[in-house]
């Protein structure tokens, strides 16, 4: 039988026995790891490297400009500040993965915030019930928008543009004449952003996360080698665990020097981790990527494309609602300006800066954290330097532009690499 013509790219390595000789890099040695990394950089698979470098760069610049930038207090405030928009970003990432956009998330956050305040303050319902109702409001809005998009075929851009106007109208209507409703201090709503954990809890979480990572990775790689599949060498797992442990323990150490790990930041990171696991490890996540990559292929594979689309829009709106709740918690009030400013744009910008593609099918939940940190750091640094928000908008625009250019370039290079 005719042999298939070998496809070889990049450097030659000594082929190990039992493996396809065309497997170019066998990352068992430190050199193999570096070669793999270089190859990925060249082929446009940059991953989170540009954002992380950018984040470090921003931190260094601001620390030189203002000595309090990297102080525990400032970083703690930053962590609390980015949580609300970060949740909106997490939701919009799901929509971006489908290759769609949701312009209504700001208004949804505002409307949910209004529902929360009206129910808990004006109507006197218990706060936990009001919180549930606010999240429910987001969920219902998302289902409506998703259904109009998926079933009727109106472009998501237009549906959510209508939502942007309509739900803002609802927000204004609900808040009524006063325009501002204050929530009470000391209740569960206020506690969401007022709670900080004692140091031991922070350390405990950090240790648990790193141990869980190591445990699950080792278990997974062991299963792989038991099944005769190429597995990651223990050294690489160790290196990855170290790269994970440094920022986690560093963050906990810093936050503990101020008030401790903030609950709101933990909620945000918790959602990011949960959505990351959902996207990468469940059938549902796989379907989201499939619909984003090629909806027709997904349909032919028997995936209920409409259901996936509706559910993604529902999740995005529900997360925006939670973001709106955190906004109320932080300002002790729901007002006409709650999520009425640049929150929508910042949320979408953060997703793209974090590395989620605007073209659909490529991205990850961690973009919300990375992108949120970048934008939060810029905001916080410029605030310390007492710069105007005009400067902030221009710098943010520049960072966003860089991110989009990187996205478009990596897409082009993938297309060049793909032959069909």
């Amino acid at each position: 039988m005719a042999q298939q013509t070998p496809v070889s790219r990049g450097t030659e390595a000594v082929p190990p026995i039992e493996r396809d000789p065309r497997l170019i890099v066998t990352a068992t040695s430190p050199r193999g790891l570096i070669t793999t990394a270089l190859h990925r950089v060249r082929s446009g698979e940059l991953g989170p490297i540009p954002v992380i470098l950018g984040l470090i760069f921003i931190c260094v610049v601001f620390q030189f400009a203002h000595e309090r930038f990297l102080s525990p207090q400032n970083l703690s405030n930053l962590a609390v500040q980015i949580a609300a928009v970060g949740l909106m970003t997490t939701g919009v990432i799901m929509v971006l993965l489908l290759g769609e956009i949701d312009l209504s998330i700001g208004s949804v956050a505002g409307a949910s915030a209004a529902v929360l305040a009206v129910l808990s303050v004006k109507q006197g319902y218990p706060e936990p019930l009001a919180i549930a109702a606010a999240i429910g409001t987001g969920l219902v809005i998302g289902i409506i928008q998703g259904t109009v998009f998926a079933k009727i075929g109106v472009p998501a851009f237009v549906v959510t543009l209508a939502g942007l106007l309509g739900w803002q109208g609802l927000q204004i209507y609900l808040l009524g004449d006063t325009g501002t409703i204050n929530v009470k201090d000391g209740g569960p709503i206020a506690a969401l952003t007022q709670t900080y954990f004692i140091p031991a809890v922070g350390w405990g979480i950090a240790v648990a996360v790193v141990l869980a990572y190591i445990g699950f990775t080792l278990y997974g790689e062991q299963r792989r080698s038991a099944a005769g599949l190429p597995a990651k060498p223990t050294m690489e797992i160790g290196l990855r665990a170290l790269l994970l442990a440094i920022p986690i323990f560093g963050a906990v150490a810093l936050l503990n020097q101020f008030k401790g790990v903030p609950l709101s930041f933990l909620v945000f990171v918790g959602f990011v981790v949960a959505f990351d696991l959902m996207l990468r490890k469940t059938r549902y996540g796989r379907m989201v990527f499939a619909v984003g990559g090629n909806a027709e292929a997904a349909r032919r594979a028997g995936i209920n494309v409409d259901l996936i689309r509706i559910s993604v829009f529902a999740l995005a709106s529900a997360l925006s609602a939670i973001g709106g709740i955190l906004m109320v918690s932080r300002s002790f009030s729901a007002s006409l300006s709650t999520a009425g400013g640049d929150e929508l744009m910042m949320a979408i910008a953060a997703a793209v800066i974090g590395g989620t593609s605007l073209f659909g099918g490529r991205g990850n939940a961690y973009s919300a954290l990375l992108g949120g940190l970048v934008l939060g750091a810029i905001t916080s640094g410029l605030y310390l330097l007492q710069m105007d928000s005009s400067i902030r908008y221009m710098i943010t625009a520049l960072v966003l532009l860089i991110a989009v250019v990187l996205d478009a370039m990596s897409r082009r290079s993938r297309k060049l690499h793909a032959r069909s």
Partner: protein, 262 residues
């Protein structure tokens, strides 16, 4: 001849003003390769999509193992045991090979998470059993060559243990060696008792593997031949609808260069 596993009669399908299929009949038996032939736009892909449930027929009857069935959506066809390799491959470029192979029928562990290990192991096994070698199963399919993508698409259709496999121009974009590989694969499917429906414009391929040739012309049945005792000219005449036509005249001079060495 054994009883057909799949039998269609009187299938009609209309797209707006275009009557793409009218009263088409088709049958395929276990262990038989039926070539579906016809000029561009004859309705071959449309017929495949009817059988696959992607574009259900407007009217007509479908018998599956002698029982009447309705195929209204892709899931129906999959459940019956009909696997389809589409002309446009229907792979998700952003997903890796394993994810594409198991798309829509992923394995999960007891905890409900994707069982990547099991899927990769089975993918490896499957590709080995087809003597297909792919450098890494974890690259996005966007980076594969046309032939490799085709093989992945075929392999994917075999995962559900189908009884009928439909291939829409599987060799159109392939080189000589890859074409031979796909034809080998089709023969192996037939030998293991599957019914195969093969669409191809390449007469050499058809003569190499097909038992029967079913010709469509302008959306209608235009002939059903045993490939062994039918000449190339007869089939071409049925496809073009005329005994005297440029292709038939030139046929003496144009034996399509191919892979009949097997």
């Amino acid at each position: 001849m054994s009883t057909p596993v799949l039998e269609l009669s009187g299938i009609s399908k209309r797209f707006g003003a275009v009557q793409a299929l009218s009263e088409v009949d088709l049958r395929v038996s276990p262990g038989e390769v039926v070539a579906l032939l016809g000029d561009n736009g004859a309705g071959k892909s449309t017929l495949v999509k009817v059988i696959a449930g992607v574009n259900p027929a407007d009217s007509g009857e479908i018998l599956w193992e002698d029982r009447p069935v309705t195929i209204a959506k892709p899931g129906d066809a999959q459940r019956l045991g009909i696997a389809t390799i589409y002309q446009d491959l229907a792979l998700c470029d952003n997903l890796d090979i394993v994810a594409n192979l198991f798309l829509g029928s992923e394995h999960t562990t007891a905890s409900g998470a994707l069982d990547e290990v099991e899927m990769e192991r089975r993918a490896r096994e499957l590709l080995d059993s087809l003597s297909v070698r792919i450098p890494s199963l974890r690259v996005p399919v966007a980076s594969l060559s046309g032939g490799q993508r085709q093989i992945i698409a075929i392999a994917r259709s075999l995962l559900g243990d189908p009884k009928v496999v439909m291939l829409d121009e599987p060799t159109a974009a392939l080189g000589v060696a890859q074409t031979a590989q796909v034809l080998d694969l089709i023969e192996r499917l037939r030998d293991s008792g599957l019914g195969v429906i093969l669409i191809s414009h390449n007469m050499a391929d058809v003569r190499a593997v097909a038992d029967r040739a079913m010709v469509l012309r302008l959306g209608r049945n235009a002939g059903d031949f045993q490939v062994e005792d039918t000449s190339y000219e007869e089939i071409v005449a049925a496809i073009t609808g005329a005994a005297d036509n440029p292709v038939a005249r030139r046929s003496g001079r144009v034996p399509v260069a191919g892979t009949e060495d097997a």
